[in-house]
């Protein structure tokens, strides 16, 4: 049974492989209702694999993934989307030869057409006037920042309870990065939980409530954003490689 007070998303000792490559190693995460949780880590440590494990693009070899108290690791991707998990993918991944509007339609794929759909579109347009301006343009021809707006709008069209974002600031100018983080906070204020993979740790820790640090597939640190901001190892990591000793 869904527990109204339990965590929204929970990883329990999850192990994910690509063939022989062991990527996620006994990973545990908790994303509470209404939280912004950030996942930090260097290249190739398994951040995107975490996203794919949540969305059901890859299945864990062992461990449990629970959403709203229910194990979902055996469910299809479509079923997870219907239960309220929407992605903002690494490098946006809009459908490049579809218009902006059609991309929003794809975001609402799990819903029926009707007044609610129209209202959702209007809400996205109100949040992102630029998206409205560009609604008939092919998504592949938008700038990176515009694409990120569409990607977030597309995720909102699913009426999700949680949005998983994979490096939302990647490739954006500093101005756009600020804007994107502001939008993430607004969305969160509307009651949508956010799980956000980021390499831009300083920005991520400014808006996140809590964070996990992943290193070669293991969670090596976790805590509130403030704890992590004050952690010398994290400070070090802003400049170079993460210097966190792996737990024994």
């Amino acid at each position: 049974m869904p527990e109204a007070n339990g965590p929204l998303l929970e990883f329990e000792a999850v192990n994910t492989f690509y063939g022989d490559l062991h990527v996620l190693k006994d990973v545990c995460y908790i994303i509470g209702r209404g939280e912004i949780v950030s996942l930090l880590g260097g290249n190739a440590c398994g951040k995107s694999t975490t996203m794919k494990t949540i969305m059901g693009i890859v299945r864990p070899a062992s461990g449990a993934v629970r959403f709203d108290g229910v194990e979902i690791q055996q469910l299809s991707t479509a079923e997870r989307v219907r239960r309220g998990i929407a992605p903002v993918l690494e490098a946006r991944r809009l459908f490049p030869r579809m218009t902006v509007f059609e991309n929003l339609e794809m975001g609402a794929y799990i819903h029926k057409r009707g007044p609610e759909f129209e209202a959702d579109v209007e809400r996205v347009y109100a949040r992102f006037p630029r998206v409205k301006e560009r609604r008939n343009q092919l998504a592949g021809t938008l700038s990176g920042g515009e694409q990120q707006m569409v990607a977030i709008g597309r995720a909102l069209m699913a009426r999700p309870r949680m949005i998983c974002m994979d490096e939302p600031s990647m490739g954006l100018s500093p101005l756009y990065v600020e804007q994107v983080f502001e939008i993430i906070q607004q969305i969160n204020a509307d009651g949508i939980s956010i799980f956000m993979v980021e390499q831009n740790a300083s920005m991520a820790l400014q808006i996140a409530h809590r964070a996990y640090v992943l290193q070669t597939g293991r969670v090596v640190l976790s805590g509130t954003a403030k704890e992590l901001r004050d952690n010398p190892a994290i400070r070090e990591a802003y400049l170079g490689e993460l210097q966190v000793p792996a737990p024994a």
Binding site: T77, P87, L89, P96, E102
Partner: protein
């Protein structure tokens, strides 16, 4: 006939052949666009389609060219023939996908493509066993109406082929552009993983692509029979290869490209037969296939990497 009217006549013939190749090319392109799979079974789904159409028309009381219909009766019989043929070949295509190709979906390399060649031979041999090797007289209820235009002749069957091809292509374009599942097909072709994460059930999209492509091949099969008044177990290879060339020429994976490629191949065949010699038509067509693959693998309307952004 003057050269000008010969040219016009061959343009008319070429458009008819082209319409048929286009119907067939669309099936290659729809499946390739989504699975990046060249489905050689498609050749003989078309061939089976000619037989389904023949049996359906015979079941409706036609035999050879002796029963000629007019007006509403003609339209009703032809519509029923197309409908039954398209549904049966559509289901055949879905069955091939579901029971033969889906188990191989995650196998890397050419296994699935080679399997489609195997399925093609199975269909070929099933028809050979049950019907025999002789050619079959294909029933044709159309009156011998002819229209003379500037010394060239348009027959009623050609008008019919154009109407059928145009209606089906418009319907397909509408389906792919404007319906929910059509949109999901385009999204899946552009980024299958992202489409899944929108909630698209990719299995259903693949099934739809096979159904539509195979149904269009069935329509092409009936068009073939009405055009040539015969069919045999062997007709899939020539028409299939030409339609495949058309799909590659237009840019495989590209729907308008398949239509354009079909028309171009049809015109080349007709004009080439008239002005170069019928025995050269295949040489010309397959030289085009090779040249396109070497110099412009993305085809006339394709992108350099047709399926990824």
């Amino acid at each position: 006939m003057t050269t000008a009217s010969l040219l016009l006549q061959q343009l008319i013939n070429g458009l008819s052949l082209g319409a048929m190749y286009a119907l067939l090319a669309l099936g290659f392109t729809l499946v390739y666009g989504i699975l990046e799979l060249i489905n050689f079974a498609h050749f003989n789904v078309f061939m089976v389609g000619t037989f389904i159409a023949m049996w359906t028309l015979e079941g409706l009381g036609l035999s050879g060219q002796s029963v000629i219909l007019h007006g509403p009766a003609l339209i009703a019989v032809l519509a029923a023939g197309f409908a039954v043929t398209m549904v049966v070949t559509g289901v055949l295509g879905v069955g091939i996908e579901r029971f033969v190709l889906r188990p191989l979906r995650d196998v890397k390399g050419p296994a699935a493509m080679i399997t489609t060649i195997g399925v093609s031979y199975v269909l070929f041999n099933v028809i050979l066993l049950f019907v025999g090797a002789g050619s079959q007289n294909f029933p044709n209820p159309m009156p011998q109406a002819r229209f003379n235009i500037a010394g060239a002749v348009i027959e009623l069957r050609e008008v019919l082929i154009w109407v059928v091809a145009i209606v089906l292509m418009l319907a397909l374009t509408f389906f792919v552009q404007s319906t929910k599942i059509g949109r999901a097909m385009r999204a899946t072709a552009q980024d299958p993983e992202a489409a899944r994460m929108m909630g698209v059930e990719v299995d259903r999209v693949i099934m739809t692509a096979f159904f539509l492509g195979s149904a269009l091949a069935g329509a092409g099969g009936m068009v073939f029979g009405l055009y040539y008044n015969y069919t045999s177990f062997i007709v899939g290879f020539t028409a299939g290869l030409r339609a495949f060339t058309a799909a590659v020429l237009g840019g495989i994976g590209n729907v308008p490209g398949a239509m354009l490629g079909g028309i171009v191949i049809g015109l080349i065949e007709a004009l080439g037969s008239q002005f170069v010699g019928a025995s050269w038509a295949d040489v010309v067509i397959f030289s085009i296939l090779v040249l396109v693959l070497v110099f412009r693998p993305a085809g006339l309307l394709g992108r350099v990497a047709p399926n990824k952004s």
